[in-house]
């Protein structure tokens, strides 16, 4: 597998829903997951990033920590998200994002702080989820890929920070 990088136009296209939950799908998911884990950071990936134009993404923040104090990031572990649909968004927060498909650039993006969503696993079973914080941001970033959206499409000015950011 190889990461496609922008301006490759495949990254700007809508992906097709998965219809066959068979061995070849599970094989692809397994390869995609292994590839994700081999990348620096390696907490999320979407199928179109490797040129597979299907609604498949993976997020796993297991073991991830924030800052010098190594605070754990709340997460639900390994999430295989096939045909994911985000159904509820609540709150918003500015955060910095980058992308394996957009090397050497990071920027500010506003995302919902809490989301509800549903997705099918690699065995064809549909699940309902809720997520918040950094995991919710990662899921929104990956689901965007399935709709041909990059974080570049959601960039906001670095100078809006003081006025947009939730006060702590």
């Amino acid at each position: 597998m190889e990461i496609l990088t922008y301006p490759n136009q495949q990254l700007k296209q809508n992906c097709e829903p998965v219809e066959q939950f068979d061995e070849s799908l599970r094989q692809f998911v397994s390869e995609l997951e292994a590839f994700m884990r081999s990348q620096p950071g390696g907490i999320g990936i979407a199928a179109p990033q490797v040129g597979q134009m299907q609604r498949i993404c993976i997020v796993d923040l297991t073991g991830m920590t924030r800052g010098k104090k190594k605070k754990p990031v709340p997460n639900q572990g390994r999430l295989i998200l096939i045909n994911p649909e985000i159904t509820e968004w609540e709150g918003f927060e500015l955060g910095r994002e980058g992308c394996m498909s957009v090397p050497d650039y990071t920027g500010n993006v506003i995302r919902a702080t809490q989301i509800a969503f549903s997705a099918t696993d690699e065995w064809g079973e549909r699940h309902e989820y809720e997520s918040e914080g950094f995991e919710a941001r990662a899921i929104q970033h990956e689901v965007d890929h399935l709709e041909g959206l990059l974080f570049l499409d959601r960039l906001v000015s670095r100078r809006t920070d003081l006025f947009q950011r939730k006060q702590r």
Partner: protein, 183 residues
Amino acid sequence: MKEEEVTMGSARKQWYMVSLVGKDQSGIVARVTEVLYQAGGVLGESSMMRLGCNFSIMMMVEIAGGGEQLRQSIAPVTTELGLHLHVDAIEPGLHQHQVPELRVVVHGADRPGIVAQVTGVLAEAGFDIMDLDSQVGGSSLEPIYILLIEGVANSGVETIHQALEPLSASVEFRVEEIDTLIG
């Protein structure tokens, strides 16, 4: 790199920092970048800011022919627009972005020395500033100063917080980590 990109006429291409300062008016960026484009210039990174009612921009420009020729290409437009023009040869350094790790936000009643004190303390604490933006807000009778700084520090939030603490009698500040999601 293609051969025609390396040489143009008899001269090799070189990177320059073009700085312009003057009274703000509509259309400056469009006119200056058009003349640079017509002269065969390629833009790298650029940053334009309106500070007070003043226009300022810094642009990385790659062009053949040397700095003086670059200056002469732009000068008719910048003179007409009343802008001060400055051209320096630079190293390009593209594709070497650092990702900021910490953000420091400072605000308080405006007084002389805020930036010097805050940045002095940060420098001593090992904080490298990558981005700094300051504005004077509030009313003209009671101006407030707002300073946004992003950068990297090996010492972490607590150390930077403690370093700034002696200034807390005269300014409000907060230090936070910037978590960058790479998806």
